[in-house]
């Protein structure tokens, strides 16, 4: 078997990548991709914990992962619709230029 810690290290790395993408990218779509990576990392953790827990038939980890997938789909749909609406108005998807609310 693969030790649980291997999965956790992979998930930690993916989460870090996603965090960096969400913090540091200029393009709003790239920020969204970073968020998707973070959600995936969380999913790996949930499923790995489920698999290595004592109660395999409890399935709570898998159920949560499925909920995350559904929420990620909703988030991507609304997020991308927002980005496209903003692009229509401002002709940019650069998060640095979207500063109307910053006094």
């Amino acid at each position: 078997m693969v030790p649980l810690s291997w999965y956790l290290i992979l998930a930690a790395f993916l989460f870090t990548c996603g965090l960096f993408g969400a913090l540091a990218r200029r393009n709003a779509i790239a920020v969204l991709m970073g968020i998707e990576l973070m959600l995936n990392a969380a999913n790996i953790n949930l499923v790995a914990f489920w698999r290595y827990s004592g109660a395999v038939t409890d399935l709570a980890g898998q159920v949560f992962a499925l909920f995350i997938i559904a929420v990620a789909a909703a988030e991507a749909a609304v997020g991308l619709a927002l980005i496209i609406a903003v692009y229509r108005k401002r002709k940019t998807v650069n998060v640095e230029e979207l500063d109307l609310l910053a006094g």
Partner: protein
């Protein structure tokens, strides 16, 4: 079942290959200069995560991952990239002005996570899993018993997201 491989070395080799692939794709998503390439690497990373799910013997989740993430979300992202095409050319840096601090923060976060991982004695072995369909049936059962409220809430959320996305992106 393809993943019922009892000799540890084979599973571990497959895991290492898939993990390296996933991690490399994940890294390239955030540092690639070309946004379209970022999206392609995202597809690679999502596929790698699906493979990791297969290794964890969660086949239903793996298939759902491919269906929802690659079939729907990645396609949406690529469409959005194509519709906001002006930003595609990598003339300027793809990073914003806080990227240095972002990188530092992410690195500190990663090191902290690893330090935490070191402290806990994680299990090395997982229990055997029933090979029939009882787990998938159990999953469906959980959705309409224990988690029925959350399930309905997600259904409502998806409906609202659908309508909201159409309203937001509609060309007026």
């Amino acid at each position: 079942m393809p993943i019922e491989i009892p000799i540890p070395t084979v599973t571990q080799v497959i895991f290492l290959v898939m993990a390296l692939f996933t991690a490399a794709c994940g890294l390239m998503v955030v540092i690639s200069r070309n946004l379209f390439h970022s999206a392609l690497f995202l597809v690679g990373a999502l596929f790698g995560v699906a493979a990791i799910f297969v290794l964890l013997e969660a086949e239903f989740l793996a298939v759902g991952q491919v269906l929802v993430y690659i079939g729907a979300i990645a396609t949406l992202i690529v469409f959005a990239i194509m519709l906001t095409r002006g930003m595609m050319r990598g003339r300027t840096s793809p990073m914003n002005h806080v990227s240095g601090r972002g990188a530092l923060g992410a690195l500190v976060f990663f090191v902290a996570l690893l330090a935490f991982l070191k402290k806990v004695p994680w299990p090395e072995q997982a229990q055997a899993i029933p090979v029939d369909e009882s787990l998938i049936a159990g999953l469906g059962d959980k959705f309409v018993t224990t988690y029925v409220v959350a399930f309905e809430a997600v259904g409502l959320l998806l409906m609202v997201a659908l309508i909201g996305a159409v309203m937001l992106a509609r060309d007026r």
